[in-house]
Amino acid sequence: MGAVQDFVRRYGGVMTAYIFAGCGIWMIGMIVLPQLLMLEKSLTYSDPAASAQVAQIQARTDGLFVQITRAERDIARLQDRLSAIEAGEADPAAGSGAATLLNPFASPSQAEDAAAATPEELRAEIETLQARIAEARAQIAANDAELADSQAAAQPQYGLYNYEELVENDLNRAIFFKTIWASVLVTFVCLVVCYPIAFYLAKAAPGEQAALLMLGLIVPYWINEILRTFAWLMLLSDGGVINDLLLWLGVVAEPIRWRDGSGAVIVGMTYAYILFMVFPIYNTIDTLDKNQIEAARDLGAPWWRIHWRVVIPHAKPGIAVGCIMTFMLAAGSYAVPLILGGTTSKWFTEVIYDAFNEGNDWGLGSAYAFTLLVTCILFILAMMRLFKVNLQDIAK
């Protein structure tokens, strides 16, 4: 409570309430609850066969009820005719007409047949219908008993079924591992591309040039990600700009199929996430005392050793943050693989999307999503370990 009092003293009551409410809503509403709900969903499953059976039985029972209703209506009409005949040969057409009026789609031929029939025939007809109703009712009772069993079987249950599904589904498992591997690759390519840019921006570029470069890096991000990705599609597709140029120059005989495999996706993602790698690294290198670089140089170090021993160790937290962000974004990307990916380069996010939206199986979708989340967290921990940084370094 001392901490709260300290807060109140420093920021006042309103501000303290705002901060605590904001933090609470953020932590519980944005982080804890959704994850818990998803975890719960992912551990819940219902036997799909039993569910199908339930639906089937219910449909059958519904059909039987319709039959009973029809038969009862027919009996009522036949009885009307019968009592009319017994009352003294009333106009048979009146009853028939009424039936037609009441139900224009009811078979008039049947009514005419009945009109022509003798009372004995009508009675026999009624009995047949009554027997049929009794049979249907018996059937419904049997169905209800069966339904209770099936419903019990279709009850949602807790279990690892959804996770087992991922392990057993060869295709989805392959996509999962490919997504992780390709995201690692995107992260690595981004790091290799961005470290020199970040170093140049922070330490080598004269002020104006650095500002221009920074602007050049940021401006593409004013354009929607989808549009940017389609721009890459225009460049990389079979009839795209690059292929046209290569064909025209005669370098290749037929278009290169960039989009087969993950090449185009990796290129597109590297481009899409460059800023998320450049800025954390830039920020850390920017705080490096330039004298340290000069001191290393003065002591005889060639450029690569200066980077290896002085700049990179200093930039480690930034590199870790950049790698974590890029990896998370790449692994969780949906638009880029959807647009740039060929038929063989499906991303795991697409599998998750399909499970939710097309399979309508929230349990399975949650299990996939949760697996991806846990993998990403493991990746973060591995990066922090690899770069020997802790959360405080990253928060800086």
């Binding site: 290393a296 140089r297 003065d298 002591l299 005889g300 170090a301 060639p302």
Partner: protein, 369 residues
């Protein structure tokens, strides 16, 4: 043994700004040489040209007789100690010291051994495995020195490395640096704006102002026989008496000043009519008690009033002011009763012509030339 460093008509320009103008001198091998001047005078630029971080716009830098043009800082036989030391905070003390050896491909065991030898030299024997951030300011200073010496440079360049230390430590480190220099025989080029540092440590001093080396000489020479008004005022304290030369003969000049006619040594060839100033050190002024005979009275006497007395410890600063003149400082040794020097009291100040020097006023001298 260190190498000599020759600056051959070196000029450095940054755009329109001339940071160093026609620097021309030779720093002898094994010498402790200081560049002394206020910030922005170009002394750091000279250091960076010698270490190879920048190339001079004109002229040549030679080390051991070899032209250094085109050689980067990693290719020169120099090592630089930065003003902020620039130790590598993520490395241990011994790794810092051994970095230059690591660069040269020396094995880890040999590096460690050499680092420990250097740690002995700087009296930090057991600190090898600490991080530099765990050391005190003075210890870091020593580590920086050891790191620079580890690569066995012919010339060690020091860019105000003591400026971050407190006074006591600074004085201690002066002696230590001087001792290390004597022991290793490396040529030291020391940059400082602190005349105390320059005077106590150096074999020779180059006094700089606005990109120009105004005077080069041994400390006592620079202190007692300044060639320019700038040197006279920047190195140590001096009381200036601006005026005009009335007569100049036999190595002395007599100036008409606001304190009357004053006589001083004339080494710079002043002639009657020149704009000039007389400079006299506070410790060369005497407080006269009126008992002097005509024969023992100094050449110059001034009637002044006491403004205040500041106690410095071993001596006191006596501030006095003449009728129309400016405030003067007189150092009096604190070996007598000074309670009588109440503000407002009339006192007579005197100094010998041999204790004072007449120097041309900078602007006027340039105009005359």
């Amino acid at each position: 043994m260190g190498m000599d460093v020759e600056l051959d008509r070196v000029t450095m320009r940054f755009g329109d700004f001339t940071a160093v103008r026609n620097a021309d001198l030779t720093i002898r091998s094994g010498e402790f040489f200081s560049f002394l001047g206020p910030s922005g005078c170009g002394k750091t630029t000279i250091l960076r040209m010698v270490s190879g971080f920048i190339e001079p716009s004109e002229g040549f830098v030679r080390i051991g007789g070899r032209d250094m043009a085109g050689l980067g800082p990693n290719k020169r036989p120099t090592a630089l100690i930065f003003q902020n030391l620039a130790l590598f905070p993520l490395m241990k003390v011994w790794e810092n010291i051994a970095f230059g050896l690591e660069v040269r491909g020396i094995g880890k065991a040999a590096r460690r051994k050499r680092a420990e030898e250097l740690l002995d030299l700087i009296a930090l024997t057991d600190q090898a495995d600490k991080l530099v951030t765990e050391l005190s300011g003075g210890q870091r200073q020593r580590v920086a020195t050891a790191r620079a010496l580890a690569v066995e440079p012919e010339v060690l360049l020091l860019d105000e490395p003591l400026s971050a230390l407190d006074l006591k430590l600074r004085q201690h480190m002066r002696a230590e640096l001087r001792a290390i220099q004597k022991k290793t025989g490396v040529t030291f080029i020391y940059i400082t704006h602190d005349q105390g540092e320059a005077l106590t440590m150096s074999d020779r001093i180059g006094v700089m102002s606005q990109g120009v080396i105004e005077q080069v000489g041994a400390p006592e020479e620079v202190y007692s026989r300044p060639h320019t008004a700038f040197v006279a005022t920047f190195v140590g304290e001096n009381n200036p008496f601006p005026g005009r030369v009335d007569e100049a003969r036999e190595g002395y000049a007599v100036l008409e000043t606001s304190h009357g006619r004053l006589r001083a040594v004339n080494r710079e060839g002043l002639r009657a009519g020149d704009e000039a100033s007389i400079f006299v050190r506070p410790e060369r002024c005497q407080l006269l008690d009126g008992a002097e005979t005509a024969g023992s009275a100094p050449d110059n006497t001034l009637l002044t009033a006491v403004e205040r007395v500041d106690l410095e410890g071993a001596y006191v600063n006596l501030f006095v002011r003449g009728d129309q003149g400016r405030s003067l400082i007189v150092h009096l040794t604190n070996d007598r009763d000074l309670t009588g020097l109440a503000p407002g009291r009339q006192v007579t100040i005197g100094f010998a012509a041999d204790a004072a020097v007449a120097l041309p006023t900078p602007g006027a001298a340039a105009a005359a030339a």
